[in-house]
């Protein structure tokens, strides 16, 4: 039996269908939507917190979504080692829920960043990246106004010491610099994993680059890694 993915739907989620489509139609996975007011994860083996503007991003991005009934189950699931993947707004929810360390602040430019960028994969030894079969950075779009990751020095040191920085913004050929960082995030951080290796958050949208018709399938390597980890 195929392992099931559960895509959480918050009021204001708008990448939930992209995630569902890419998993179901492209990756041929078993997927279901999980309504934020429910508590039942329906035997999902992987939980996706999708992009969007949950609760209108009021107060702080992810601050209110974190208290949705389903999040109690997601937090419990994550603490037991369940696989949780937060994309964009989902990453912000994971930070607010305390499942990942640090905070997200407004993009340095104050502008919404919506474009293709490149991320270097800094840790391929994770559930989410082990099938990435290239040394080249991945091309994945970002679409956010608050993706400027920040954490204090102790947290950053701990992230580095434990190899928790999984994706960093870079050039196409793996160079780092402000011109390749769309939001000003510290250490060019685009995605981090928790210490136990079962919770990943990233700002870029891999679910938007799975369908070959879009002529970029880099996102498949990430979802393929998760699939090969659970099946």
């Amino acid at each position: 039996m195929k392992s099931k993915f559960g895509v959480v739907v918050f009021p204001g989620s708008n990448c939930d269908h992209d995630a569902y489509y890419s998993l179901k139609k492209i990756m041929k996975a078993d997927v279901t939507f999980l309504w934020h007011k429910d508590r039942d994860l329906q035997d999902s083996k992987v939980i996706i917190l999708p992009g969007g503007f949950a609760y209108g991003d009021y107060l702080r991005c992810g601050a209110i979504a974190r208290f949705s009934p389903i999040m109690n189950s997601v937090i419990e699931f994550a603490n037991k080692g369940g696989i949780v993947f937060g994309i964009c707004n989902g990453f912000q929810v994971l930070l607010e829920a305390g499942l990942l360390p640090g905070v997200m602040i407004r993009n340095k430019s104050l502008q919404f960043a919506g474009k293709d960028i490149y991320v270097s994969v800094k840790n391929k030894n994770t559930i989410f990246t082990k099938e990435i079969n290239t040394d080249q950075p991945l091309k994945i779009p970002v679409a956010h106004g608050e993706g400027n990751y920040f954490a204090d020095d102790d947290t950053l040191k701990s992230l580095q010491d434990n190899n928790q920085i999984v994706f960093q913004y870079s050039s196409k050929d793996g160079k780092f610099g402000d011109e390749f960082n769309p939001n000003g995030s510290i250490l060019d951080i685009a995605g981090i994993i928790n210490k136990n290796g079962n919770v990943l958050g990233m700002m870029p949208h891999p679910e938007r680059v799975c369908d070959p018709v879009l002529r970029n399938t880099d996102g498949q390597m990430i979802f393929g890694s998760i699939l090969s980890s659970v099946n």
């Binding site: 107060l59 208290f67 905070v103 400027n148 920040f150 954490a151």
Partner: protein
């Protein structure tokens, strides 16, 4: 009943891109003495209890768990008797 007034400020160590951008506006207005603009939040609400201590406890919990993110923000509040 109490009226709570909460002030949420971003920690000095945290960059405030919004404050910086707004300050550019001050410059264009010719207000050259304006420096270090930082943008926070002001939130007010009532607490429906007559016991000040429990009101303070509830406001602290509201601030710590929801209104402010203690990783990047500090908060302060006042409680006034309200009818």
């Amino acid at each position: 009943m109490f009226k709570a007034k909460v002030l949420i400020k971003r920690r000095p160590s945290i960059l405030d891109p919004q404050g910086k951008a707004v300050e550019k506006g001050a410059f264009h207005l010719g207000l050259t003495n304006i420096k270090d603009t930082r943008i926070g939040k002001y939130i007010e609400f009532t607490v429906d209890t007559t016991d000040r201590e429990s009101a303070e406890k509830e406001v602290n919990e509201y601030c710590n768990k929801l209104l402010a993110n203690p990783i990047m923000e500090d908060y302060e509040f006042t409680l006034e008797n309200a009818k």
